[in-house]
Symmetry: C5
Subunit: 399 residues, 5 copies
């Protein structure tokens, strides 16, 4: 509708305009505003009973900023508004063929449309330096360019693979719907002038005429998706590496004297990453990645606890009681351990001896017990980490 | 009162309006403002002796931000004000049946109502772009939409399970109560347009006409509750895990050579969490969680001190004096320890020998002494941590 | 003075007002401003030779913020100003008994009083929405509510037990003292509307008429005291705990293999606390707590140095030279150590042997030497820490 | 064009001006603005059919700030605009020889040119305090000084050796190209007044008249280069040092008991540097230095893993199986190791013995195995680090 | 000049003023502005050929903030401007003896002087609330109080002992020098109202009339010096302590098992201090303290490398080859070491044995080799650190 209208204007323009001069414009402005005593407080309808219909389009220019913590979407955009001003109609022939003119927006009646879900107090659109174009049949075209900071509640459950839907709701604030009625012009959000944001991709847009009994309202919505690559590289990857380091604690022999060092350092690193992730997100729980980090923190505590108990056993100097030896034998892992061991013979010997003479306690030392625990825990924790991590990654990326 | 009034207006409107035109509106405005020489500095009462009564309602739209450190509550809200302007009365029949009109707020008299407990200098409500609606009988309806940053003193004792009460106090600033009197319209804070804040929940609202002898004032109050889930997950849970790691120091054998590493790392982690918690809160002491962290820091120091002394004993090479052995025997914990030990026989043997031959000092080594201390301290500190932590959690969540 | 004046106004008001109507007010305003061609640029004195005296009071409402680093005090307050406007005098009887009226502050002459020691460019007090009250005898009452950000140089020597004195200096900017003269009204800063700040307590206030030959000025000063509890809990207490941990290094036996770990970790923690304290304070040296932390850092270096040397000695395998043994014997601490030792016999034996056969060097090992140093240093450093810490705490809290 | 024009003005000035007085100026202004009823809303063309051409130059004064994360370039600059106002033409002789005058910019018609790709809502250029110069033939010269915050998408792939191209696009906002046509004056961005930015160097500038069918537009572009020295010193150098420390882990003997300490500390340091680098860059992946740090983090994990396995082997007490010994012999590195060893004889002996008697397992201990791994890994990892680091440095600095 | 002028005004004042009333002032203002139709757009010169000379002084009130990273100096100051307005001249006798009056700055012609090197768009000086004083002979005195944020490029080479020179350049923006000419009044920057900044000291000030052919300009410059005490205490002192700790690594015996811990912790601490120092400075390399820290970081790497190699040697179990023993003997340090050793006999014995029987390799162990390296490196690194640190301190403090 808009382009056709405007083209008509231009056609008229290049046909009719011939002898129009500056004086003609002055005469026209004087006639319309002074002689007719135009009052911009009066809605420009001959019959005040019917509402003035305002057509509205949103041209999105860019996404300035998205602040998940504050819950705000800051966009630059311009609105394209059009309506009929029945008091600004003239015969071009009488004024040297003038088919349209520009007039500062503050000189004419404007609908009091404003962003409803903003962060600041209601502001008038445009400013005194923006002109509106008026055509001979009273059509007014107005193109205020604005920065809109609108409220948007972010659901960061699937962070950093989240999709968000943010709304920009424009309402006629003071006038009732029986006076000013705002409707969509063409098809909602126009992305012709849109410049890509590097962090967020616009998936789709939508629009709705959401008027109710008392208020006239048009709502545009943006469906956006976070570009997760940065967070995958800088948060998820390091966290996965850390999880692996946590598992490695059980590969470290008790004699090295650095088991506690290793696992407590990894524990602290998880705490640091938890802080980094939390700084990105609003202070409401719910992100899977946050839960995952808490889970890893708990895993870290378990790893430390088991390691401490292992060391307690490792440094015992008394003989291993038969019950423990029997327990070790029963474990399927112990055998696997023996099989995997590069030194099969010795282990087999021990086992033979154990079956032969259970009371020969000196054969099985506490070191062997801790080794068994190491082996058992290594594969258990590794399984847990692999399963949990791959589940989380799957849920996040495939949701 | 408000809805009925407005409905009446609409009823009149859809009945009476018939031939009203733009010119009628212009005529009416000219008659009211120019012919009657309306002076917006004059309070619109025929008799200046009686006060103008202003009805006021607050429509809360959202909580933008709560800053505990600054002590501010930032809300978006609009006020609904209504009063009688005795100088804006007309007979609709004389003006084509016009029953109401819209007029920029700067063109008429307005009460000088303002937020009293704000952070900025007093500001006029609304702005030039907001219109007021005036009906034929002089009723004026005004709906200024604002962002209010009001002062609120936060009591963070029960952080993060705290409840806060914040006030928005509106006062007639320049005029005395004998001139302008502000009263509640309906029932205080209206939450019809309220959009939930993710961090805070509105529990209840209240309102009071708090005028005194000189000033007319209406105070609204918001009773809000923090959503603690985030803090439970990201502060309380890690702190509890750390407390447990602190206790584990005593489970770590002295021979591991990592006891000091463990407990000094945990000590530093408590200090880091103390910093994180403090960054969330105003710089006034008083939060239970802060005291709890200080308590844990002190516990950490005690754990380190005992561990250091243990190591001192552990590395002694001289025989254990009989007095220490006797002390160990007296301790109920020592026996418990012996019972719990997986190697009962040996310990019993030692004890039998001890009772038999007290002078056989070589039987009890310093390692046994430190083991006993470990055992005793582990259960003692664990009890303290469990009791203190569960008390704090109970107090916070059940207050 | 103010209350009496105003009460008189009210008395007059409730007696005289009888038939005053809106038209009377319009007539009065027309008479005063239009007919008399009131020019707000002209100082409202019949005789321009004498100065206009402006009475001034400051009603402190709250302390918004104190920024020690920027050196600013932000307060909300309102001024109460009164003066005589000789051109706004009327006879109430001629205007239906009107004894006073309200007028926007921009319509009348006002003294160009402004905050002199602010952070921003000079600003006019109040705004267009604030009204002044004018009584029949030309008295003008004006109550501009402002946020003042005034400069204040903070002396943080005794941080966090510091007291500060901040000034708010109001000056007549453009006019000379021979034209406009500002004086105190009642008694300076009024605290009736003051709401307590949680971090700072107002100890006392003062005021002075600080006019000089050319400029008329009134200065208010606030004497405030920091609530130290938060800093005691979160900075001083942890630092004291750290100092104690530093001392503990000497209780840790050299065989533990964690002496360096312990003291270098404590050293780093002091550095971290130094950073935290510095972030609170302006970048000028001088706070005792800062010096104390630097002192602790130096102590930490000394502890590390001695520990390193101890370890050097500890790991020597050659016999201890007699000179060192003699030195050890001379130290009074060695004997004290021996007395305190739970194993007196052995030590005494060694000493007997030493006195008997000084050349039996194998009896005294390097471990004994380091133990002696440990003992000596433990008590020395503990004394230094206790004395210095208690001195600092005493100086800070008792100054 | 500009300078010549202006010089002409001056020439005329110093020749013609003779009897011009203040009254002449007043008369001229009255004649032009009041008598001719100048309307600044009317485009100053006698024939409204042809467009008004506006010449435009940009004088860059400085680069205030470049924010890669926000994607903004903030510059101070002034525009030099010139156009013909056909309604401001006079005969100097009639007005005492006045050849030019200054007039506040708000008093005349101005083209509605504005920065199109800014961060804020469209703003009028200049302000009321800036004057335009008007010459007798209607030429208007206008020099608005502005701070422009323009959008710029930064490609930080080669950070910190990146070059960026940022645009400042000026458009005639409300009027169509058939009404106002903006063209370049001289040669685009003038750097005469440019003051060097310490962090960025302007390599070159460009300009283009980028008008389309509907809108008239001039685009200036700045080609800037980051001064990398700071980042080389403070990020790249420390990271290279850290890489080297990572390699050193394999030089550290397993017996030292500090291998894990070393490599896990280096791993954490890489994580810290990753955080520092990320804080400098927008949250989109793509910088080579970021990928390099992730690569180093992965290398760190590999180093830790191998070290852990080494320690596992090192602490084995069973004999080394012949297969492992054979594997060791096959490795070319083992021999090299022997050659480099300061104790050639012994190693050669072992090798002789090995070739002689392969079953003498006691000769080769697990320590020898870990030593071989150390040797092999040291040179492998060193090669990888040197090659990758030098590649990255080469790509960054030579791109 | 100013004070004398003003005193004259006052003298005249107290002599002549006698019967002047408010009406006289009104009459005078009417005569000057209305009757004479004063046009503030017209430069107040009877002859427009000669330029209007504006005298200018700068009264510095305070330094609000210095931001080295942004490169800005924020000052509060007021300008004292004076010029002759030939259209505001009157005969006091005709107006009851009025010798001067105050007039809002917006009512008269003012020179369009502005800060040229600011961070914001050009702003008009003063505001509507500031009055100018006009005397009977047309002298206008104007005192606009401002906050100036001026650009200043900081040379932080000698940080924190740096001296900076910042300029405030005031230019007549729109008018050419042939119309308005700004000159210095008295002697540049007046410090009578200056309040000391706690971080920076003003060393000296300068001023220059820097007009060129087209523009009239006055430049004031401030020569300021940073108070280094804070940085000495909190950055330089801790860094020196750290350097010393780095050296101590070589005093730590290899057997302690904490050499790597010590030197890698110190390395990380240097990295942390590098970050702290960098946060204070603009992102351009060049500060000596920054280079010094990088140097220390490199020293740390060297220390770690040597320590690692030492440990490699230390843990060798094969005999020391004769070549190494010979190398050790050749070193002058070895002997010094022997002399300083508290156990001379043994070392001498070894040396005797060495000279006697060079092949008795078992006498010299690898521990002795690492001890020698320790000794050699300790004194070498200590020398380097002492020399480099004292050089840096000398350069910084004595430049």
């Amino acid at each position: 509708m808009y382009f056709s209208l405007f083209n008509v204007v231009f056609l008229i323009l290049f046909v009719e305009i011939s002898g129009q001069s500056g004086t003609d414009v002055t005469d026209l402005l004087t006639a319309l505003f002074t002689t007719n005593s135009y009052d911009k407080r009066v809605r420009p309808k001959s019959s005040q009973v019917t509402a003035t219909t305002v057509d509205l389009d949103l041209y999105l220019v860019g996404i300035n900023d998205i602040d998940e913590i504050k819950g705000s979407l800051t966009t630059t955009a311009f609105l394209y508004l059009g309506w009929i001003d029945e008091f600004l109609v003239w015969t071009p022939a009488s004024y040297g063929g003038i088919a349209y003119f520009y007039i500062p927006q503050s000189d004419i009646w404007k609908p009091d449309i404003t962003l409803e879900n903003g962060f600041s107090k209601l502001k008038e659109l445009g400013n005194s330096f923006i002109n509106a174009a008026v055509t001979e049949d009273g059509q007014v075209f107005w193109k205020p360019f604005e920065v809109f900071e609108s409220k948007c509640s972010f659901d960061t459950k699937y962070f950093p693979f989240d999709k968000q839907t943010c709304k920009l709701s424009f309402v006629v604030w003071s006038s009732g719907i029986q006076d000013v009625n705002v409707t969509l012009w063409n098809n909602g959000i126009n992305l012709d002038h849109y410049e890509e944001n590097s962090e967020w991709t616009v998936l789709s847009t939508a629009h709705i005429e959401a008027s109710d009994a008392a208020e006239s309202r048009v709502t545009f919505s943006l469906n956006i998706k976070r570009n997760a690559a940065y967070y995958v590289m800088n948060i998820i990857l390091p966290v996965i590496l850390l999880s692996f380091l946590n598992v490695l604690t059980f590969a470290l022999p008790a004699d090295s004297g650095e088991k506690i060092s290793q696992c407590i350092t990894v524990f602290l690193s998880f705490a640091v990453f938890l802080t980094i992730v939390n700084a990105e997100l609003p202070k409401t729980s719910g992100s899977i990645i946050g839960y995952y980090l808490i889970f890893q923190l708990a895993m870290g505590t378990i790893v430390i606890t088991i390691t401490v108990l292992q060391l307690r056993l490792h440094h015992r100097k008394d003989p291993v009681p038969p019950s423990v030896i029997r327990l070790m034998k029963c474990l399927p892992f112990n055998k696997t351990s023996a099989v995997n061991s590069p030194d099969k013979n010795k282990v087999e010997n021990i086992q033979i001896k154990n079956t032969e003479a259970n009371d020969v306690e000196t054969e099985t030392t506490w070191s062997d017990v801790t080794s068994s625990i190491d082996f058992f825990m290594f594969w258990t924790v590794l399984s847990i980490v692999v399963i949990s991590t791959s589940s989380v990654v799957a849920i996040l990326s495939l949701h």
